[in-house]
Amino acid sequence: MQHENGGIAGIDIGSRSIELVVMGDEGPVHQVKAPTTFDPLAQCRKLMREVRVGRIVATGYGRKLFAETAAGEMDVKAITEIQAYALGARYLYPEARTVLDIGGQDTKVIALAEGGKVGKFEMNDRCAAGTGKFLEFMATALQVPLEAFGNFAMEADRRIQINSMCTVFAESEATSLMARGERPENIAMGLHLAIVQRTLAMLRRVGLETPLVFAGGVAHNACVRTILQEQFDEPLLIPENPDMVGALGAALHGMLLASRE
């Protein structure tokens, strides 16, 4: 499906990265990603330069800003990440009942109602405990590159418990464990376990039903994937590009709008 001036796209402007998906008749034809940086709009423009887009739907925390600035150039709408992730996950996995998205700054849990509509949702409150930011902060504290942090934690030889979920307190807990001679891998594992614990509590609050889709940037993390999977008999549904689900959902919303015209 084409808009008269070009393709239909979705863009997800998150706190850490920006994703762009352009749709073709058979599904996404173009998927790119860039870091958010301090100038998200310039990054968006850079991503948009490679494609010809006539209609775009923005999501993520920068959605409003993007919609305001792009309004003159193309048909632009904004939807929340909640709706975008619900749409994207449902498209990839029509059987999905619950969606978990752990992103850079927030964690969202969405229960899908009949027909794939959002039935209920939960978001973490204002602090970054249990989000990608928490992992990022802790990886830095343990001097491990973020991308390698999950695999690093998988090297643990025992599971220890980190009691604090607050980024600041967890760091001091990690430091004192280190001082007591605990292996950094074990501490990393403890931190991952803490995230999963918190996520499970959120999942239970929306009345967790499976199949569960695990999306968002943190779904790349091997350790979170593994220990979350341990909680379920059924396999988790993890998209190939877990951080693209929001942009995909936004693009799907654009398709829906186009089909209504």
Partner: protein, 423 residues
């Protein structure tokens, strides 16, 4: 220099801090209220009252004091205004909805105290509120633990008189409340030097009922589709009802309602017909706590009702006017006040039914439950409200927040997602 500086100085306000507060208030008001389109003409009165909130109305209170009337402040809709008025005194609501004064408050209160309590204590310690400074007496009450204990500290700075509010609604609880009202009646007679008579009480009951009736009328007009007035405006009206002169206020609201009736007849409204209609339920929102209504109404939804003390909880029930004797009037008052469905009561099942019927009458598509952070009564009750709404088939979103602006972006996302869900 403002023409009221001399008056404020006499009231011992901290002039610099106070002018800072007025500036914030003015900016908020401009952004949140004056920016609305399609506003009713009758809102001009409210705009005026708000622009003079620390000016003209305070001047009126000083004039009343000079004429020998006492000023009584209250923090809860349990404070029986009829008795205050029957003694020839003026009652004003002191609930505070601004963050100014928080630092001062945190010197004497734990940080994890609800914003409303921190705000009124902070206003006193930082000398920011001309209403508080005008009061000859302030009524405290034993509702939630936070307030109850805070009054013990507040008492060192202001003339507090505490009323015991029952926690349950059995016959013996009503007896306790009756005793408390009689005690308050004596207290008011002593303070004002005036005897309360059956006639003066009857007139006061009528006066306060008239105000409630005007607000009931306003609220019922919101059942129309499209909605004729924004939720922000109605919240403001409810807020102003706590400190404006009751006679003048009631007349203005009735006039506003006439205008709204015309609007409804013409099929006009402030939001499109298909805008999701939301009912707000929970903790009170005091001036200038307009954050959540603003977020809600900026995301394409419209608020059609407030199930809260600065809203329907304060106006739903009238006092029976049929009596003749003092005894009959006091009993009518006791009956009416015992119907208040505050979360401080246990059990508080009436509230669940009241929310469901409000949602039905106002044709609400969803309910947003609003709790102030650290308010246990409402936070815990939210669970039951959610279940009741599920049974009634009305989706609900539960929000917990305070007066600070740091979570506005997150609130927007949550509220917008809820609105998307209802569309």
């Amino acid at each position: 220099m403002s023409s009221y500086d001399a008056m404020w100085e006499k009231l011992n306000l901290d002039l610099d801090a106070h002018s800072g507060l007025l500036q914030v208030l003015g900016k908020f008001y401009g952004d949140i209220y004056l920016s609305q389109s399609g506003r009713l003409q009758g809102m001009e009165y409210l705009d005026f009252v708000l622009s003079e909130v620390h000016g003209l109305r305070i001047k009126e209170l000083q004039d009343a004091k000079e004429a020998g009337r006492k000023i009584v402040g209250a923090f809860c809709v349990f404070a029986p205004e009829e008795i205050t008025l029957a003694a020839g005194a003026v009652q004003v609501g002191l609930c505070a909805g601004a963050e100014a004064g928080k630092d001062a408050a945190e010197k004497v209160l734990p940080r994890n105290t609800c914003a409303l309590i921190k705000s009124f204590v902070g206003f006193k310690l930082a000398r920011l509120c001309p209403y508080l400074e005008s009061c000859d007496m302030v009524i405290g009450e034993t509702t939630c633990d936070g307030k109850k204990k805070a009054y013990e500290i507040f008492e060192e700075y202001a003339p507090v008189y505490v009323m015991e509010i029952p926690q349950m609604k059995r016959a013996c609880d009503r007896d306790l409340w009756m005793t408390e009202m009689l005690r308050y009646k004596d207290k008011m007679e002593e303070l004002s030097g005036k005897a309360i008579t059956a006639e003066s009480l009857r007139d006061a009951i009528k006066l306060v009922n008239d105000r409630r009736r005007a607000l009931q009328r306003l609220n019922s007009l919101r059942a129309a589709s499209p909605v004729p007035i924004s939720g922000r405006d109605v919240l403001l009206i409810n807020q102003v009802s706590f400190y404006d002169d009751p006679v003048r206020f009631t007349a203005s609201i009735n006039k506003l309602c006439d205008e709204i009736e015309d609007r409804v007849k013409a099929g006009e409204g402030v939001a499109p017909k298909d805008a999701p209609r939301l009912l707000l339920s929970g903790c009170p929102m005091a001036v200038p706590n307009w954050k959540l209504p603003y977020v809600i109404e900026s995301s394409g939804a419209v608020i059609v009702g407030e199930e809260s003390c600065i809203g329907a909880r304060n106006t739903r029930d009238l006092v029976d006017e049929g009596g003749k004797t003092m005894d009959e009037f006091m009993n009518a008052l006791a009956d009416r006040y015992m119907r208040i469905d505050c979360a401080c009561f246990t059990p508080n099942t009436e509230r669940l039914g009241n929310i469901a019927s409000m949602a039905k009458d106002l044709k609400a598509d969803g309910v947003i439950h609003y709790g102030l952070s650290f308010c246990q009564p409402y936070a815990i009750e939210a669970y039951k409200v959610e279940r009741a709404m599920k049974d009634a088939g009305v989706p609900m979103l539960s929000i917990e927040t305070d007066y600070s602006m740091e979570d506005v972006e997150q609130l927007k996302t949550r509220v917008e997602a809820f609105v998307e869900m209802l569309r």
